[in-house]
């Protein structure tokens, strides 16, 4: 059937999650961000093994460290959400269950990201 919509107009907003290429693009953005951030995070935490509590506090109170930690947790949980979204779309074929799982995933990932950011800020801004 011929329609007035262009092929691009029909393609935008489609895909299993109904969001077009946004998912693909942000998965790449977060993965590129996570290369330096996660390497930095893991090696920092490894070097903090066995450290005094005050040493860890001083470390996290540095504005640069706190900012990097916040960037890390936001990229981490965003990337996590995008990744599991694909797994849900691949394996869950019952429509209502797929939507329910996606919603649960979104809420849990957003919640864990927010809690992480608040915890870093509490340490960084705390007296």
């Amino acid at each position: 059937m011929k329609g007035l919509r262009t092929p691009l107009g029909r393609a935008i907003g489609l895909g299993p999650a109904k969001e077009g290429i946004g998912h693909w693009w942000w998965q790449r953005v977060t993965s590129v961000a996570l290369i330096p951030l996660s390497l930095w995070f893991v090696f920092s935490v490894a070097s903090l093994v066995g450290a005094e509590y005050q040493t860890v506090l001083d470390w996290m109170r540095s504005p640069v460290i706190a900012a990097l930690l916040i960037m890390f947790v936001i990229s981490f949980f965003y990337h996590l959400q995008l990744g599991i979204q694909v797994v849900i779309e691949d394996y869950i074929h019952t429509e209502w269950l797929k939507i329910a799982s996606s919603l649960t995933l979104n809420f849990v990932a957003a919640f864990l990201a927010l809690v992480s950011v608040i915890l870093v800020l509490r340490v960084a801004l705390g007296g």
Partner: protein, 138 residues
């Protein structure tokens, strides 16, 4: 009837059903990418717990150090670190494919082995740093 027989003897490619698919490096690496990603995701509350223990004070931090330093804690952290490095290294491979690089079969195998080697090396390095830091109490 002859038509269907002709179709069944046609040498068409089959889709790779896992039950009959001979495991090979490329498919194993691909499955491991998803597996490590899922493991990292489901163990992410540990990351939040660690941040919470720091924000909650010296006592909770000491408790977290004790828990994460236990045999089970180290076991989980070891797999967490390996999963992260594996997912990171193989993720770089994926990013290269996105720009159309490294898709030749020989290159796929070469970079695949590099992922295995580098992810183990980075995990080993992390744990050497961890044990060294613990020893000196830095």
């Amino acid at each position: 009837m002859g038509y269907y027989l002709a179709m069944s003897t046609d040498n068409r490619p089959l889709s790779p059903h896992l039950q009959v698919y001979r495991p090979q490096l490329t498919s194993l690496l691909s499955i491991t990418h998803r597996g490590t990603g899922m493991f990292l995701a489901f163990s992410s509350p540990v990351l939040v717990y660690w941040l919470w223990s720091i924000a909650a004070g010296a006592e909770s931090y000491a408790a977290a150090q004790h828990l994460l330093g236990s045999n089970l804690g180290r076991f989980v952290l070891f797999f967490w670190s390996y999963s992260l490095f594996y997912h990171l290294c193989n993720g770089v491979r994926h990013l290269a494919w996105d720009i159309g690089a490294g898709l030749e079969i020989t290159t796929l195998y070469k970079t695949g082995w590099w992922v295995v080697v580098i992810s183990f090396a980075l995990t080993l390095l992390t744990w050497v740093i961890g044990y060294a830091a613990r020893g000196t109490g830095v």
